[in-house]
């Protein structure tokens, strides 16, 4: 099923928690793109499990209301109810897809009919409106369908979590790093003589504003909007998600831009009204807060380290980043594995691992943005040298396993 097609918004009835989750996952898996589970108020179609008493009761009540929405019934038995589509259990994917497709046709037919009923009354009442409506239901119905193609649904939090779950980590290799992260003209961040210039101030980039907005939003426990004179960033602290309606390439460009005074004066953090918060949003534009800030920090860094890090002093890593949900820059896991053993200077990390300093700098920028890394403050940590790393006796074997795993990326 083409996931770009607009999925039918369905509400599930008469199911216990486990069945509800199972059906939700089924519609996201084998039926992906055909349907998505939403709250009853936002649904276009209703699915009932009538093999349980609760489901039968819900269906009976629902039929009494004479709703125009298509109804799908799941049952072990045949049901011949008027205007009801039936799927026999155990549910087969082909049967389900076929019925969802019929339900979708019915939904659009209902929309067209509703519009054709409204259009003549508009024509009678308002000549100005008549010009735009032109008396043709098709012309009005199309934008409705077009809007559905934009897939702007779902405030069901379970659905959002599902989607963010699928934002699996992207593992960058050295080859793609330069093009993806960018570079700073006039500075060779890998030249140790230029290390003292190879830093950046996160506060002068979008990263700094995002960081502040996250802190405010989390402290207040409120949905907030970061206004930037660009597309607003909506922050949902309860679900640890953000929403931003831009392409990744646009976000990358904006994140790498130093914010000057003019643009900075447009930055503000405002609470979001109840109405605006409840608005339905494009599902693909939700990101986890950590994954978003981590990525924005990588793009601001462009291979430099944060200005608050002293290049000559060791840094520590509090704990491993949750790499399955973050952008994995080249050698990031090796750097994490080394720093978790004890603090080291950035140059020492690059030297021990025999890698370009830019990979260490970009990692430390991202880790600092999430508060996972920082400069060692205690004298004892500076005085005591980190242990030398010992090669594992099975190094050859481990390297071979790694090469297979890295070739196996899904």
């Amino acid at each position: 099923m083409d996931k770009n097609k607009s999925p039918l918004k369905v509400a599930l009835h008469g199911m216990d928690g486990r069945s509800y989750k199972m059906m939700t996952m089924y519609l996201q898996g084998p039926c992906k793109g055909a349907a998505m589970v939403v709250n009853e108020n936002n649904a276009e179609c209703d699915i009932f499990d009538v093999d349980v008493v609760k489901g039968q009761k819900s269906l009976a009540e629902y039929l009494e209301k004479k709703s125009q929405r298509p109804i799908i019934v799941l049952s072990l038995n045949d049901h011949k109810l008027e205007n009801v589509l039936t799927v026999r259990k155990p549910v087969k994917t082909d049967d389900m897809l076929s019925v969802l497709s019929k339900a979708k046709e019915l939904t659009y037919a209902n929309i067209k009919e509703a519009v054709s009923q409204v259009a003549p009354s508009l024509n009678r009442n308002d000549n100005a409106v008549q010009a735009s409506v032109t008396g043709k239901a098709e012309n009005i119905a199309e934008p409705v369908q077009e809007e559905q193609k934009l897939k702007k649904f779902v405030l069901n939090t379970d659905e959002q979590k599902k989607t963010s779950k699928h934002q699996a980590a992207m593992q960058l290799n050295e080859k793609g790093f330069g093009a993806f992260i960018g570079s700073v003209p006039g500075i060779d961040v890998n030249d140790h003589k230029q290390f003292d210039k190879a830093h950046y101030n996160p506060k002068e980039y979008f990263q700094g504003y995002v960081d502040s907005a996250f802190k405010v939003s989390r402290a207040k426990g409120q949905i907030r909007q970061l206004n930037s004179g660009w597309n607003p960033l909506i922050i949902f602290p309860q679900s640890d998600e953000v929403w931003l309606d831009v392409d990744e390439s646009q976000l990358r460009a904006f994140s790498g831009l130093a914010i000057n005074n003019t643009l900075g004066s447009k930055m503000s953090i405002t609470p979001l009204s109840q109405e605006a918060s409840a608005m339905e949003r494009t599902l693909e534009r939700f990101y986890s807060m950590d994954a978003f800030l981590w990525k924005v920090a990588c793009w601001a860094s462009k291979g430099r380290y944060p200005v608050n890090i002293d290049i000559n002093q060791p840094v520590y890593l509090r704990n491993w980043p949750n790499f399955t949900r973050l952008l994995v820059t080249p050698h990031a896991m090796r750097i994490a594995a080394l720093l978790i053993q004890g603090p080291r200077t950035l140059a020492n990390v690059a030297e021990v691992l025999n890698i370009k300093p830019q990979y260490v700098f970009v990692f430390i920028s991202a880790a600092c943005s999430l508060g996972l890394a920082g400069q060692v403050k205690r004298e004892a940590d500076v005085l005591v040298q980190s242990p030398e790393i010992k090669s594992n006796k099975n190094q050859g074997l481990l390297s071979r396993i790694l090469s297979v795993l890295r070739g196996k990326k899904a």
Partner: protein, 178 residues
């Protein structure tokens, strides 16, 4: 020819079988049976002996992937399974009543093996239950004097399982080049 293995452990329903399935080069050999005890409240069938998968390595070597049965009454097998293992992957189900208790149980049970090798922790079902968070796990682990990688994992997603094992290997030797 040498035989090497990675052990997958964790409570019932944490995704051990699925994780092995995700990265095995051969269809995994499963030893599932219909659940008849408390397990049946979590899933219809469960692993009663062990799961087995294999990854083929260059040069004809094989990496064996073993999953321990989740039920404690089979824990007599665990010592046998870990012998010769290069590391432990601990999978925890975030929807369980007390995932920290599960974590402590498995870390205590395998403490000697972990001391000799290393451990990586994957937390599954985070889409269904966001709490405890990954940070919460780290806090618990720090209290136990451990700093292993802890990742949110969807056992069905190959790249998630792959990254967890990569972290396990880099924990053994950060100098590795893959």
């Amino acid at each position: 020819m040498s035989q090497y293995k990675i052990i997958f452990t964790g409570p019932v329903g944490a995704g051990k079988t699925t994780a092995i399935n995700s990265i095995s080069d051969l269809p995994p050999i499963k030893t599932d049976a219909s659940a008849s005890d408390m397990t049946k409240f979590r899933k219809a069938s469960t692993t009663v002996a062990m799961d087995y998968g294999v990854m083929n390595l260059p040069g004809g070597e094989k990496l064996h992937l073993y999953g321990t049965p989740g039920q404690e009454r089979f824990d007599f097998m665990w010592d046998i399974l870990v012998t010769g293992g290069i590391g432990l992957v601990l999978l925890l189900d975030n929807t369980r009543a007390d995932p920290f208790q599960d974590m402590r149980f498995f870390l205590d049970t395998f403490d000697k093996f972990i001391a000799d090798t290393t451990v990586a922790v994957g937390v599954t079902q985070m889409d269904l239950s966001g709490k405890p968070t990954i940070d919460d796990y780290h806090i618990q682990l720090h209290g136990m004097g451990l700093k292993p990688p802890v990742f949110a994992v969807d056992a069905r997603v190959k790249s998630d399982v792959s990254l967890l094992i990569q972290a396990l290997l880099y924990s053994l030797d950060p100098g590795l080049e893959g």
